[in-house]
Symmetry: C2
């Protein structure tokens, strides 16, 4: 029986490695083979796709959907505004908030990019059974929620400690 | 029954999105909560972990293991050399090749970082059954292989075309 050597990290069995490798290879190929011809980086595509899926978003929420940090995101949005693909408007909820949404041109571009995006997903999951694919996606959602909840719990505990100390 | 709207991209059911989100959240948390205190970025950690798992590597192979492009990798290795964590040596295979490996100090640092790295993996997979975890990892390996094989097949076809044309 194989024993687990805790002093070694077998990368081929280490989830963060397996996840990063798949994410990077799909992003690189889609980026160089499809997005580059449209003048888009993978980060810009993520912003456009998140806006297409969610409609108008505050930048803070857009950062959450795209996993892009807020200062990088702000620069990306400015580039997309200059390219005429997104608009910055007053939020519907508050005059003091700015919301970002796709322009008509941006919406049309996303519509053109969705079929190739689906083709790259299909290429990645070729040969997986329907059942395996369901498990894969469910586990990825769960892993993300686990990390988010852990973070929220830690922030809550720190908050409680500071209130007790205060 | 839900129909699939091909003109929309439901991000919560789109594998590249689910993968990127998990990879990013684990990397960010491990990076800020663990690696930063050691002066390491997540990319530097990936280089160190790949060298710990594989021993001495040519930079081209190290790029493959870490999914980091070769020019970025070259700068990263130089930084790690200056930090005393890795060494560049002549390759065992050829005087003209350079191989990269961990220094004693680099090996000791990786050994210290493996337990927290495993803790972050454990946090991410909390609540998954052993069976689900096996399916998850197997599917991620398969998806990576699918993308690599597709690329190799496309390169082979281009090569054949250019030979026919030549």
């Amino acid at each position: 029986m194989a024993t687990r050597h805790s002093s070694r990290l077998e990368l081929d069995d280490y989830l963060p490695y397996l996840v990063n490798r798949v994410g990077t290879v799909i992003a690189e190929r889609f980026g160089s083979e499809v997005l580059a011809a449209h003048g888009l980086s993978i980060a810009m595509w993520r912003v456009l796709a998140a806006l297409a899926a969610n409609g108008s978003l505050r930048q803070i929420d857009l950062a959450g959907f795209t996993s892009i940090d807020t200062s990088t995101l702000s620069r990306l949005v400015s580039r997309l505004v200059r390219a005429g693909l997104v608009r910055r408007d007053r939020s519907a909820h508050s005059d003091r908030e700015v919301a970002v949404k796709l322009s008509v041109k941006g919406g049309a571009l996303v519509a053109r990019l969705i079929p190739p995006a689906r083709q790259y997903e299909a290429a990645a999951i070729a040969g997986l059974s329907r059942e395996e694919l369901l498990v894969l996606k469910r586990c990825l959602r769960r892993a993300y929620a686990n990390m988010e909840n852990r973070h929220a719990a830690a922030a809550g505990a720190a908050d409680q400690r500071s209130r007790k100390a205060g």
